[in-house]
Every structure is written in C-alpha cells, then in structure tokens.
C-alpha cells in the first residue's frame, strides 16, 4: 500500500473528489492512492502503474523524447504492441506507411528498452485485449494509453483512460499524468438480462439514454445485479464504450469474478503476493454510504438487442423498432438525425429488420474475445452466410485466435462462409486493408458508427456479436432467436 503518499494526499482538501474522506467511491479510492503531488489551483499529479503503447499514437512522443534527450522513466511499467495497422491476412504489410509506423515502434521499443509484442509474435493483439489476458491489468491500478478505449481496463476496478500523444510523452518521461478533478457517476443496472441480450446491449442502451456527452467530466461506475452477474469479458465490453458516452473512464468494482479471472495469469501476483493483493483489492469497492455526483438507473429486464441507425453511438433503437423520424427529435438532435439518415441512406419508418448489410464484422476491442467468438460460432454452426454477404471474424489477440482454433470455432466460422483472420483492430477503424467500400453497409460488433469510420463512405450499424452472427446468416438484421 502507498500509505505515506495516500494519507498525505487525503489530509488535504479533497479537490478531486466530492465524497467525504470516510465514505468514498471506487474511483475516489483509486485516484487518492495515486496522488504524487497535490496543490491548490493545480491538477493532481497521479502516478501511472501501467502505460500501454501502440504504433499510431506513440511515434511523435518518442521522437520528442529523443530531441529533448529525455529517457523513459519506467520502461518496466510500459508495454507495447502493434494493433491498429496490422494486416489480418498472411503476407507482408502491403501499405508502406503502415509498415513505416510499425517499424518506428519496433525501433523505439528497442532504443528505450520497452517490452514489445510485435506483429507476428504470440503475444500480439489489440492492446485492450492483451493487457487483461496477460494479467497486466489488475484492480486498483492507474492505466493509460494513447487510445480512447483504454476505458476497457476499468472493468477490473482500475482507473484507466485514453490520452493524447503529448500526454504519452509526459507519461514516458515522468510516469505521471496531470489530472483535472473528475466527477463521479453511478450507473446502476438491475435485473436479469432477457434472452438474446448481452453486455453490448446494456452499454448501447446506456448511451442511448444518457447521450454521447452524458458522461463528460465523469468517471462512471457501473453497478447493480446485472453488472455483477456479467463475466469479466462482458464487463470489459461495457467499460470499453464509456468513452462513447463522453466519460473519462468507466469502472466496475472488483469481486470474486475479477479475482478468478486474474489469478494465474502470467503477470498476476502469485503466492504470498497474491494474498497481499487480494486483501488490498477487497478494500476497493465503493463504501456503502458514499455518494455520487450523478446517478442513473436502468432496468435490464426492459432491454432488447440494440442496433444503431445513425452516425453516433447514441443514435440507436431496439431491433424491434423502425428507423426514427428526425422530426421526433428536438433542436440540434433533429438536424443531426436528418444528416445521419442522409449519410446512412435510410428512410424514416423502415423496420430495422428490413435493413440488409453488405458486410458483417465480428471483432474490435469491444467484442473480439473468446466468449464473443463462442457465442457467435454457436449461432452460425451448421448454417451458411447469406448469398453475396461478406462476413469476417477478427480475433482480438493471437491468444484468442489460438484458443478459438483449439475449440474448433474457426472451422465453424469457415464452414459457414466467414473469413477467419489474424488479430488486430482491423475493420473497426479501417487503418489496415479491411475496409468498407463507399456506400457499403455493415453490421459491426465494434464501438463507433461515425461517418467513414470503417472506410470512406462506409455505413456502420453497431450491434452485439449475437445479432451480428444472426444477421450474417439471414442477410438482414435479426436475432439468433429468430433464425
């Protein structure tokens, strides 16, 4: 424990936190124990336990360090991989600019002494998939990465957020980050998920409710019986999309599900250290009488599978509904809805089930883990992808791919007509050759339906892995239950 620093920090007025010193939320506890320096009128300087690095947002940071003659302070707390640019098919990297960016990371990792899981190695994968699976991601840590979906790691009760390249440079040089005070938000989800609904539908439902800016300035804590009943992978899916609600981070209190997931992983504590860690982690959950700045509740039993119809993740309806009429929205949301429908080439009143995608993408840091692939494989087993539809499965990491192949999931997907690919971010953001063509429509298990996100002119509908798999078979949006 960091008693010295922690108690020194809490002795001062708690500018970063709204609760009293005795009754604190999970976020406040993790924040307080990482305060290195606090002074009135300044942001807190927080220590960073784990800095994850990938090829797209780090090159300029390393170059700036080099120019200033600064070393990396804690290479041993820094882990790098290649994910955004990497091809998911065999053969060399066809795009020379992608290759150059990957080579730059390899050179930088070597020069600064940073552990790297490069393309082609067994440890490679999406940075937010490999951190948890190797056991780097643990409760109570502060974790940063030059990627907004760093919020994923909050599923373990870590305080994890995305940062820009200047901040990457700052963390490399100092192992700390300046953080402005955050507000706390509790999102409580209660009840059993209806059949066919998954963690993805919970988070799409939350974003639909609070909007893309509902979480600005807040660290969200997801609570309630629905969240407690989810696996770690489901919790990661939810925390992953916290940024889509504008939140600075999303967290779930660690519990026995968390500990069971972490135990035995390569970088998890073991032996006596495991016992010490457990004792510490059990002290992290929000105190019963702590209060939050904002509270939202959701009844899970009301949920249905969600499908986005627009160009931001809040523009969604349930699969049983129709594309909405923009005139039913107020103010700027009305214009945004009209613009979105034009871009998406959709007409108000069209049943969601009547929309026919050209491509189905199962992958991304939101939904590319083994449970996602098992669920999707179960849906497509013994069936065939609809004629003319392209379907691909991109495992989140080499480890996920190997496990899926061990279980025979690759055969199920291939037999159904899916492409079975290598690990990476792939079509989530189209930095590698996996892109939508202009005007092409996708059903995607990823996190962003922004204009052109999956390729210039591409039209993205966000869905769960179950809906994606069923849609690939039916050729139009549908659920596994309806096949």
């Amino acid at each position: 424990m960091t008693d010295e620093n922690g108690s020194a920090a809490t002795a001062q007025a708690s500018q970063a936190t709204s609760g009293s010193t005795d009754h604190r939320t999970l976020a406040e506890k993790v924040w307080e124990r990482h305060v290195v320096h606090r002074a009135a009128g300044e942001p807190d300087l927080l220590y960073v336990d784990l800095h994850l690095v990938h090829e797209v947002t780090s090159a300029q940071a390393f170059e700036a360090l080099r120019l200033a003659g600064r070393p990396v302070r804690r290479a041993d707390l820094t882990v790098a991989t290649m994910d955004h640019n990497v091809p998911t098919t065999e053969g060399p990297v066809s795009d020379p600019t992608s290759a150059r960016q990957m080579e730059a990371l390899a050179t930088n990792a070597k020069e600064f002494g940073i552990t790297l899981y490069p393309w082609g190695s067994g440890g490679q994968g999406i940075v937010h998939v490999i951190g948890p699976e190797m056991g780097y991601t643990q409760p109570g840590l502060t974790i940063v990465c030059g990627d907004s979906h760093t919020s994923t790691h909050g599923a373990f009760g870590a305080l994890a957020f995305g940062i820009g390249t200047s901040e990457v440079e700052h963390v490399l040089a100092t192992q700390t980050i300046q953080q402005q005070p955050a507000r706390t938000m509790a999102i409580t989800v209660e009840g059993d998920l209806p059949p066919g609904c998954s963690a993805k539908d919970v988070i799409l439902g939350i974003i639909n409710r609070i909007g893309t800016d509902g979480g600005i300035g807040h660290v969200i804590e997801y609570r309630g019986s629905t969240i407690r009943a989810l696996s770690m992978e489901g919790r990661m899916t939810i925390c992953n999309m916290s940024i889509e609600a504008g939140a600075r981070a999303g967290m779930v209190a660690p519990d026995d599900t968390t500990f069971a997931y972490v135990e035995g992983r390569p970088y998890a504590p073991s032996g006596v250290d495991w016992e010490r860690a457990l004792e510490d982690w059990r002290s992290l959950p929000t105190d019963d009488d702590a209060s939050f700045d904002t509270e939202v509740t959701l009844d899970a039993t009301d949920l249905r599978p969600f499908v986005s119809w627009g160009t931001n993740p809040a523009q969604s309806v349930t699969i049983d509904e129709e594309v909405p009429d923009p005139s039913t929205f107020d103010g700027t949301k009305r214009e945004a809805a009209q613009r979105a429908l034009t871009y998406m080439a959709l007409e108000a009143g069209t049943p969601i089930r009547g929309i026919r995608p050209d491509t189905v993408f199962i992958g991304s840091c939101t939904n590319s883990r083994i449970e996602d692939l098992r669920l999707a494989a179960e849906v497509v087993r013994g069936r065939r992808v609809a004629d003319g539809l392209r379907a691909l499965v991109v495992p989140g990491s080499v480890a996920v791919k190997i496990e899926a192949e061990r279980e025979g999931l690759d055969r199920i997907f291939r037999d159904a007509g899916f492409d079975w690919r290598g690990a990476g971010c792939s079509m989530c953001l189209g930095m590698n050759p996996d892109i939508l063509q202009p005007g092409e429509r996708s059903a995607s298990t990823s996190n962003r339906n922004f204009e052109g996100r999956q390729g210039k002119g591409g039209r993205t509908h966000l869905v769960s892995p179950g809906v994606a798999a069923a849609t690939a078979i039916a050729g139009h949006f549908t659920t596994p239950e309806d096949l």
Binding site: H37, G246, R248, E451
Partner: protein, 194 residues
Amino acid sequence: MEPVQRVEGRAMPLDRSDVDTDQIVPARFLKRIERTGFGEFLFAEWRQDPGFVLNDERYAGATILLAGANFGSGSSREHAPWALEDYGFRAVIAPSFADIFRNNCCKIGLLPVELPQESVRALMDAVLDDPSTTIVIDLEALTVTAPTVQESFPFDDFRRWCLLEGYDDIDLTMRHVEEIAAYEAARPGWLPTA
C-alpha cells in the same frame, strides 16, 4: 510551447454538434510519424463537398472555428488538434468539448473556448451574416468579444497559466521528481512489471 495570450481574427461557422475526431482527421491519415502536415487532411471527407464551409472563400484565413456541442468526441488522436492548428486555427469556440480533445488542445496551444449555446449561436449568426466579423479571445481576461457578443468563459487556472507563460508540462512535472521517486519507493512489490 509558444505563449498564447490572445486570439483575434475571423471565424468559420461549422454548425454541427457531435463533431467527432474521425471527421476532423480520418484514421487512414494517421500513419505519418511526424507531428506536422495534418492540415491538408482536416475534415478530409466533408471538404469533398464544394458546399462545405471549409471551401467557402469568404471564410478563408479564419483563425477561429465555431462549432456545436460535444466537439472533438471519440478517438484520443492528438492528430485532430494538430490538423486544426496546422490548417491555421488558433481557437475553437463551442458549447462543450470532449474531455480528451480539450486536454490535447491545451497541450499544443489551440484554445478550446466554452461558451453558452446561445452565445455560440449569436456568434455563428454574426459570422454567417458578415464573414468579416472579427472575434477577440482574451485568455488573460477570459473574455470573448465580438460586435454583438461580450461574454466571459471558464478556463482552468492551471492550464491558463501554462498557456499564458508557454510552459512545458514535462518541465513543470520534473520539479516534483523527488516526490515521484518517494512515491515509487513506497509502491508495493506485487504490482505488475513488464
């Protein structure tokens, strides 16, 4: 970083909310390993439309971008502020900003100025009506001044001080290097290392 005290200039009205960083600079242009040259990719898709405001000659040379709420949402790519800055913008005025984008702007001296929705609307109307309208953003006094609008804006004290003085964040943090070392010495041994 160069100190920033004041931005005075004409403004470009981008009357849209939830402008995400994928629109500001699409992912396929993020492969450069340099920090410069992103201006030509600014709003790369939207500017294909001849009617898009970036192509409107009347707003050429504007140094202030006026936009709707939740500007800069989505990806943490600092390439978005780099592209705005490289194109020639020195400030963005909007009703609200995404957190990471706001942070990234402050790191490079591009001012994210938050004004109430009505004031942003009034500025947009003024600029739509007369593209030669000059807007003055005074970071020292925390005011935005235009012929029809006089408004103060909130700005974090520390960030304001850093921008006014042009301080380097890493230099500032290194003043606390002994505290960092003391913190490190007290960290439990079971925490993960690579």
